[in-house]
Symmetry: C2
Subunit: 566 residues, 2 copies
């Protein structure tokens, strides 16, 4: 491959800005705009300028190399997709307003691909007919489209974005587990090469269906995900995937349940206050409708119900809140005074904190009355224990019991064992070794390529600006000519020599720009090494500065070339 | 960069087919599908399989290197674009049904970019404020969308396709001419490196507006463009851009014009037959409406009018054919008997073949009568001479007069001097050296990257299959293991060694596939060098075959590696 030409800043389209853009809320958005890496074209739709495109291409290259290394085969599927396969899997409807839909000139329905499970499934159905054709892992690095309700945070959550998506196809569950493990390792190598700080978190599968799933999260203030992190062991999980461990207690000494009058206590807070007990001593019972059937959900009075967890538990059934009209003709359901001990025609699920043997103050199923000493397993039965509460800072780690901390993070990767959901919907079989058709099992795996650039910007920036790792930086070295003719001459000479030695060089040869502005720009742009032709240029001496540490040393041209190409 | 891993065909997703796909009409479509390079996903929408993706990426790399070499800066703009800028230039409407339009969740109007003049103009308006910021050339390699009425010919004319588009921004016409020349040279280098046979043809600017424009055409049977080629000189042009040279003749000896009765001659053919003259002796006058005003267009009776040329002449005015109702109340326009000598209230343009001094038989502007000896410049005036006829094989070359030949070709590139059309519509000014705002002048330049793959397939294929040039081939060498264990062993050993030497290797290690099928597949797939571990594998001797010439030679492993990595 030919050496890249020296990029002169006098000709580069990268206008730096002194001030943060007015609409920018998060660090990466501010810095990537200010340093001239990206510009907004429409809400959630971005243009990558030359420096940004270089970083994006570097991330792309690293992802490609590591996907190739696990034997994944690169393909390129369309972004404009016909409705039918998405209709077959139900996702044409399920995606709701997030899917960009359009019609062609003949009135045919199309969509802009948000993710490509259906199309890959059909491709493999066309290409693979025998067990001998499997396993196969296919990937693409492609522009995806999602009509986000609130595109925000610059390129962290755009409506058009670059993604690596891959799909594995195996005959057996063990094969899927292997393909999943290959991806997990490749992702670790990718994020390490990118220089990202990340955690692998257990995740619920969400709208994708399937079984095992993990998220790669990059801790950052600007992140939209919250994850629970154990300071003691290696546990880390999406908060929806944190489960409290059921610990039954001995409730045999608890006196018999007893009704107590509790007028004017419409809320847990007023109830706890009037009885002089903590909210955690009360049992809150939330009524929901699961595919139209009423179900009660019990949690301690001081905890909030995480509807995402409730929905995940009942999926694929739909979960709705009950309304006024649902109480009509239901004498057994007294609004505000529901207690599990009187519910006969209603299913009951409870949080594991409502363990067998625990005693509670709860509704007495009569207007104006509560009951105390109501013991789980004695006075009422729980149909199923499911952790349905919103995780809080300090909740015990399910693995070691230490108090968890909650942190913000950016989701940079996601790996799923989909199983046979898509293969079933689209009838993907191959002939097995026994000569009979065998249904294929799938995995799906994504990395947000453009988002990874923003995550890197978030994690590596300092107060002066961006600060890239060597492999993703838009150049290896940023040569700055302080301003005088002889400094510019030296800067251009050393730039040519560095390029000849195979380095990617950005040189600030701008005339009429003060040295101070050039130094500030070089720190904002964030190339890891800055080489200044300044005060001692006349003697052929340059100053090499490390962008991150700020360390400086004076070097001759030859020394600088030797040092930088080492 | 790490060496690419050896690609084993036993694991490769590239199912070859013995038969042409039923819907395939052109060679590249048939072969790219049969050799497992591409698969159809929907009408005009294609998926690139692993081998196809490799070729596509190679073309992309060559384009990128040559664009970088002329100092063009790579960016990446969105495909999903807001309506407003296209509204401002009028293209939101002008594009008609070819534009994919859609709405977002808030009802905002968007389009899928067919080409990006507007967005680049706005980007430069944001980034460049002074004459010091120019000239600048920006490019991207990006997926484009056009809702073709009749997507056909496989990837030659798709509705989603990969394109390199670039845009130049200059202050003065000379600068634009220079940017245009840089592109012209870069395109020549690109198409030479790709190994394409091509001609550079003068073109009309078409819907893009602007002045100078040339097309890069790759001659091929499957092409949708027809171009005129001079067998004697270097003239080559889009047929719309061929102009007949006006040559006045001496008409002074022609007798006075005279009316002749011509009953029952509704067409040129019946008129010429009844008078016993060739159709070329008659003058045909076509009536059109230009922005609602009737204009007559005169051409020799044996020639067809090229409406594209008429439209290009009158653009941006719209041109329609006249209808029955347009004759109402126009006693001067006698349908079927129009002649230019009597037209007073109607503009008249004529083909240069109707040169001053030439004499014609034409309508007498009276029912049932024609006139003969009607001389141009004596009996009627021509408002403007414009070549408006459909070019025919044998028409004279405008440069040297030799008879032109008409050939089919694929348009692989197009370069335009746009001028200030978009800068005017979007008010793109920079401060000039004199401190005053100066309007910017633009060029726009495109290469069909995915189409170039099809054009290459068309031009280089032979009866056995695809036949790539070294730089674009999906591998440098295709190693074929004839089938026995010891042959496979040798094939894999030599493959590893070739990969270690930096070559891209495809190895056919499939078990249970006959040598005949493997050889046929290797010729269909078209890697330039085929190395067979066959009959003499036991002695460590391989056969190296040149895919194009069929030349074979026997080599030891070391000799083969030395030869191939030379």
């Amino acid at each position: 491959m030919a050496n890249a030409p020296v990029q002169r800043m006098s000709q580069l389209m990268a206008k730096t800005l002194r001030d943060d853009p007015a609409d920018a809320e998060v660090l990466s958005h501010k810095l990537l705009v200010r340093a001239g890496y990206v510009r907004r074209t429409a809400a959630g739709i971005w243009s990558w300028l030359p420096l940004g495109k270089k970083v994006l291409s570097n991330v792309e290259r690293i992802v490609r190399e590591e996907m190739d290394a696990i034997g994944a085969q690169e393909v390129s599927l369309p972004a404009l997709l016909p409705r039918e396969p998405y209709e077959a899997t139900g996702r044409w409807e399920e995606y709701g307003a997030e899917l960009f839909r359009l019609k062609d000139r003949k009135g045919g329905d199309y969509l802009l691909g948000p993710t490509h499970e259906e199309i890959f499934t059909l491709l493999v159905k066309d290409q693979c007919t025998s067990y001998k054709d499997l396993p196969v892992i296919l990937y693409q690095i492609q522009t995806k489209f999602r009509d986000e309700a609130r595109p925000r945070a610059g390129i962290l959550r755009g409506r058009e974005f670059l993604m690596k998506d891959s799909y594995s196809f195996d005959l057996e569950d063990e094969g899927l587990a292997h393909s999943y493990a290959l991806h997990r390792q490749a992702y670790q190598r990718i994020f390490e090469r990118l220089g990202l700080d990340y955690r692998i978190c257990a995740a619920t599968a969400g709208a994708m269906g399937g079984s095992k799933s993990e998220e790669f999260l990059a801790p950052a203030e600007a992140g939209e995900d919250t994850f629970a992190d154990c300071p003691n062991c290696d546990f880390a999980a999406n908060t929806e995937a944190v489960s409290y461990v059921l610990k039954p207690v001995d409730g045999s000494a608890v006196p018999a349940a007893e009704e107590i009058p509790t007028p004017d206590t419409p809320t847990i807070e007023t109830l706890a206050a009037s009885l002089g007990v903590p909210a955690s001593a009360t049992l809150k019972n939330l009524l929901v409708k699961v595919d139209g059937e009423i179900v009660a959900v019990g949690v301690p009075g001081d905890r909030e119900v995480d509807m995402g967890k409730v929905e995940a538990h009942f999926a694929p059934a739909t979960v709705e809140m009950v309304t006024e009209t649902d109480f009509a003709g239901r004498a057994d359901l007294v609004r505000g005074y529901v207690g599990p001990q009187g519910l006969e025609k209603v299913g009951y699920i409870a949080d594991p904190r409502v363990a067998p043997g625990t005693a509670w103050i709860t509704g007495a199923n009569k207007e104006g009355l509560h009951a105390k000493n109501v013991v789980a397993g004695r006075d009422f039965e729980v149909d199923a224990y499911v952790d349905v509460v919103v995780v809080q800072d300090g909740d015990p780690c399910p693995k070691c019991g230490t108090g968890l901390t909650l942190d913000r993070a950016i989701e940079i990767g996601h790996i799923f064992q989909l199983g046979r959901k898509y293969a079933d919907a689209l009838k993907l079989d191959v002939l097995g070794q026994n000569g009979k058709p065998s249904r294929v099992t799938m995995g799906s795996y994504g990395i947000g390529v453009s988002r990874a650039v923003a995550a890197l910007a978030e994690q590596t920036a300092d107060e002066k600006g961006l600060c890239w790792s060597a492999e993703v930086a838009p150049a290896d070295v940023h040569v700055v000519a302080a301003g005088k003719a002889l400094q510019t001459e030296l800067a251009l000479e050393v730039s040519d020599k560095l390029a000849a030695a195979g380095l990617r060089v950005l040189v600030d040869d701008r005339a009429g720009v003060s040295p101070g502005v050039k130094f500030t720009d070089s720190e904002l742009i964030g190339v890891p090494k800055i080489l200044v032709a300044g005060r001692r240029a006349g003697e052929g001496v340059l100053e090499l500065k490390d962008r991150r540490t700020g360390e400086r040393e004076e070097l001759t041209v030859d020394e600088a070339i030797a040092r930088l190409s080492a």
